[in-house]
Point group: C2
Chain length 448, copies 2
Amino acid sequence: MDGSLQPYCDRAHDLLIELCRHPSIAAQHQGIAETASLVEQLLRDAGFETRRLTAGDAPPIVYGEQRGRSPFTLLLYNHYDVQPPEPIELWESPPFEPEVRDGKLYARGVADNKGEIAARLAAIHALRDQDGELPITIRWIIEGAEEIGSAHFEEIVQPHAALLQADACFWEGGSYDPDNRPVLGLGAKGMLYVELAVRCMSTDAHSGTAGILPSAPWRLVQALEAIHGPDGRVQIPGFYEAVRPPTPGEREALAGQIGMEAEMREVYGIDSFVDDLTGIALRERRAFAPTCNIAGLIAGYGGEGIKTVLPAAALAKMDFRLVPNQTAAGVEHALRRHLLDRGFGDIRIAVLGACDPTLTPIDDPLVQRVRALAASFSGSEPSIEPLIAGSLPLLATLMRLVGASGLSAPTNVTYWGSRGHAPNENIRIDDLYRGVATNVYILRGLGR
Amino acid sequence: MDGSLQPYCDRAHDLLIELCRHPSIAAQHQGIAETASLVEQLLRDAGFETRRLTAGDAPPIVYGEQRGRSPFTLLLYNHYDVQPPEPIELWESPPFEPEVRDGKLYARGVADNKGEIAARLAAIHALRDQDGELPITIRWIIEGAEEIGSAHFEEIVQPHAALLQADACFWEGGSYDPDNRPVLGLGAKGMLYVELAVRCMSTDAHSGTAGILPSAPWRLVQALEAIHGPDGRVQIPGFYEAVRPPTPGEREALAGQIGMEAEMREVYGIDSFVDDLTGIALRERRAFAPTCNIAGLIAGYGGEGIKTVLPAAALAKMDFRLVPNQTAAGVEHALRRHLLDRGFGDIRIAVLGACDPTLTPIDDPLVQRVRALAASFSGSEPSIEPLIAGSLPLLATLMRLVGASGLSAPTNVTYWGSRGHAPNENIRIDDLYRGVATNVYILRGLGR
């Protein structure tokens, strides 16, 4: 690594420790205002003009802008909030007292995603110091509610849409794979999260009356079976209509990924994957097939031993992961229509979360440009994830407002063992340093 | 009522208060030994030769025998244990400090079933005092684990089978209906209580991987659907084979019952019963149809809001209520076979409880004799329940050991508002007095 960056690597380390000492747990309303102030100050220290975007009591969004040599404008997205640290007792050091052990830095939020904020900040300091100004214009939006679903993101940002417009966008994520190849993520699945609730009686009954009183659990089982057949296919008419196969370029990208099949089989204790899929077919299913998952089933008695009860109500929590050309609103509508058509008007559907899929085409010029920069920096051809299997609720809104292509560049500092959302979240300090250098290299490259 | 019984009614009241002051909560191992001693002493005071039947740490069974004028031998069954009193805060007076309010006596166990023990004891004192001896020979078995499923009943009693042999048996239950007609219960459904458990992975996964990892909740839903079709019929081959329609006599008995349909619709907040059944058809379904009930469904996340998890395991708790000619072992075997045949060998079946149905034919001479006695005592034609919708786990074993016909005579002292198993359990004191007189009348009648 370029030795002149060492002071900025140290600075990233200091910045990250300072950020991680601030709790900022959105779900628990803890430390949000203080951390927003710190982040705004850190942006000012790095040369940004800042402002706060707010709506009611929602965590404020910190916004910064800094003109660079080139009029090319890049929007960066991050979040300063973190997951709750519980269960606390499983942490080897206190979650908000960052600690270095064996070359790793442990703290809640260190990987998701304060590490990336620190690496980006330190890189910007380096570029300003070494080049006199930034190579490009940077707009940076750092929200405080990502870990609770970015519920007010659109409401807060929409009135300031002009601030977000840019020529390209780097969202969070993107790092290096276990073979040290840079990873570019081009999109995320959408999601429709619903509760299906059915109540057949006002109160539970003795199960001796099961012959004559209606059963909520059986009713729910029947509704679920109407949604998803024994062949694993979703039965909602039109559900698969918009789904497209991967393009040749996307398929090539899937072929270039590390499989991690043996590792996954070991982690989950399974002999094989669904439908005995392996290799590219497995990666294609994972990336490009929509899903229909039962996240929770709740009815009646769940304790030890015998309780002979006919439950009055039953509930299923479900998430549908949506692929390009599907929409959350469209699937919700089709689900409601399907249950009505099949005679399940008594099943109440509550939408708890909804976001559309987002995908930047693999042959987009921005993708090709970042791919070339990352390859040239690292000496390895990047691994491209056309669609991550998870969902980023804000992403569709963000991309619409930016009005340009976006991706997750390898500017993040996590690794396979980072334990995001879990106890003992950590990063490797060398990855933080590499993150600073990656950011410097790619930002400089975008200015050429 | 025969004025000469008033001292024995007072005695029943005193005995009942003494019994209810002793907790005797089998599920919580509380007061069992003390209450067993008290019950044994009360039997001795009433002229019984007693002994205790025991096995290991199980609550002891108190047994008593008293010869009467006639060699006709009647076996009485009761239990001295009670349900836990929780939730305590809903009781208007402490559950083990019996209190009289508005002509009712409130205490845990007063209805289920210490009231019947007290009424039977007081009647036996009356018969001894007024007639010099009992009209018939009485054997009485009073167990201490009915409320926890009588798990060791057979083990404890089998070695002493000779003690239980009798010409007839009165088990617990049986009282008067809301029109003050005596109720005779001729049998109870059997039950098979199972847990169906499926585990598809060693640990939960992020639901983004739902396309490629196996889903335990979907697997469980499919297995449940294979057991019970959308038409409400059980799909297990042979399940209905042994089921017989009620005999003309049983159908006549159902026709003579009070419907209570409006009351049930109000209690459960329903507009109609399953399949829009009413009248005799409804009572027939309730009494003579086997059931397949989901008592509990448990998988994944059941809390508030969103958790995007692919659960590793899922569990259903189910009870099958069985009618005459079905057996718990037979249904268990058929269920296991059916799931295997349908490809659900990964569903683990654990049997948590099993008992066979028991039914004394309505034209049995004992039934006709008790029916005539109850009619002559009360002035009303008895209401006959050929099969109660619930199950008494010990009943099949008891009837086998007695080797004679049995039923629940109207010797119990409960009413529709007794709240058995619930807070503020109570009886009407007038019903206790009537219970003493009913017992005296019927026991005398059996001696003629």
